[in-house]
């Protein structure tokens, strides 16, 4: 059985997400309240599209919400997304519900209401902007596990304090490990006695709280 994903509301996000999910082999259904947007979504190959208000139980039923494994609420309104997820969970027994919210202060409330995963677009975007603006040294950063764990790619410049040091000499927080060193076109899994050279790119795996400290320690930023 293919995993069934139900996307409710949202247009650009649904377009992008459904294309990517279908490519990965999921069966995707989209619900949108705007007829024109529905027509545009229907152009995506293998995507089933339903027109209607996803906060109404009968629309969800029409779109076979009871068969969905994951429901993702992407409308612009927090209250709609809450109700969609609660209906999916309680009325249609969907295993996993994901809600997009715009007010970061309500994240905890949404979790308390039984929503499995809460994504706050504003805080996520703000975090990325902050990284780009204040941690220029850091090239890319991938949050996983709801953002609790981050994989970061840290280039080491010639002026960094860690250049020519061995890994065991660096005072890294315990919750951080250097998973890989990219040197030129080679990659290597480092050991305690591996020496860091200028121009290396380190791949860090860290908890979100220690990532800034680790990057500072490594780059001297």
């Amino acid at each position: 059985m293919k995993t069934q994903v139900l996307l409710i509301g949202g247009f650009q996000k649904t377009k992008y997400l459904s294309t990517s999910l279908i490519k990965k082999g999921y069966r995707v259904t989209a619900i949108n309240a705007d007829e024109k947007k529905c027509l545009s979504l229907a152009e995506i190959d293998k995507l089933s599209v339903y027109h209607g208000d996803g906060t109404k139980p009968f629309i969800l039923e029409e779109a076979n919400a009871q068969n969905a494994d994951i429901a993702i609420a992407l409308t612009e309104r927090d209250d709609s997304n809450l109700v969609i997820c609660e209906l999916c969970k309680k009325k249609f027994n969907v295993k996993k519900t994901v809600a997009l919210i715009s007010d970061p202060k309500k994240t905890d409330f949404f979790y308390r209401m039984g929503i499995d995963s809460v994504v706050c677009a504003i805080s996520a975007v703000a975090n990325i902007i902050e990284q780009q603006a204040f941690l220029e040294e850091m090239a890319t950063l991938v949050p996983i596990g709801e953002g609790r764990i981050k994989i970061a790619q840290v280039p080491i410049s010639g002026t960094a304090p860690t250049v020519d040091k061995m890994l065991w000499e660096i005072n890294l927080p315990k919750q951080v490990i250097i998973g890989c060193i990219l040197r030129g076109d080679k990659s290597m899994i480092p050991r305690g006695d591996t020496r860091i050279l200028a121009g290396d790119v380190l791949v860090l795996i860290s908890s979100d709280k220690h990532e800034t400290a680790a990057v500072q320690e490594l780059t001297g930023w």
Binding site: P57, S80, V83
Partner: protein, 150 residues
């Protein structure tokens, strides 16, 4: 008796949504001497309140927690959500119940099908469609009753 009850210190009602129902309710409660605050995201909506309305008004989005704390929700004895959007009513009611443990939470709900979302949260609901249907049904049955009487 009612009058004295509403004079009690604890009696503080927050009404969310200043439509016909919200404004009417706010006027009634305030006339009775209760302390009331009514929240709406449009300043113009407060024109529906009667000139004698003695409660407070607050312009803002009640789905935002900052607005609710500005209205001192933690002191409220009752929260009534009567905006024209069912989902807003549901969310504000759930915030009031779950985060602030308000004793009395009442929500107006146009669509009775969303009932399952409320049920386990101990939120009282008023559904105009169901009430009207009952009332109309009563009226329809009335002539029959009269015929019986004659």
């Amino acid at each position: 008796m009612r009058f004295f009850l509403s004079k009690e210190k604890d009696d503080y009602t927050i009404i969310v949504g200043c439509g016909r129902l919200g404004a009417n309710l706010a006027n009634t409660l305030s006339d009775r001497g209760g302390s009331v605050i009514i929240i709406d995201n449009s300043n113009d909506a407060f024109r529906k309140l009667s000139p004698s309305y003695g409660g407070l008004t607050l312009t803002g989005n009640a789905t935002e927690i900052s607005t609710l704390s500005e209205a001192q929700i933690e002191k409220a004895s009752a929260v009534v959500t009567v905006t024209n959007n069912d989902n807003t009513n549901i969310m504000v009611a759930q915030i009031a119940k779950e985060l602030y443990h308000i004793q009395h939470v009442i929500a107006r709900l146009y669509d009775p099908e969303r009932d399952c979302v409320y049920r386990e949260f101990d939120i009282e609901t008023i559904c105009p469609a169901v009430l009207s249907a009952k009332e109309i049904d009563k009226l329809l049955n009335m002539p029959v009753a009269r015929e019986d009487a004659v």
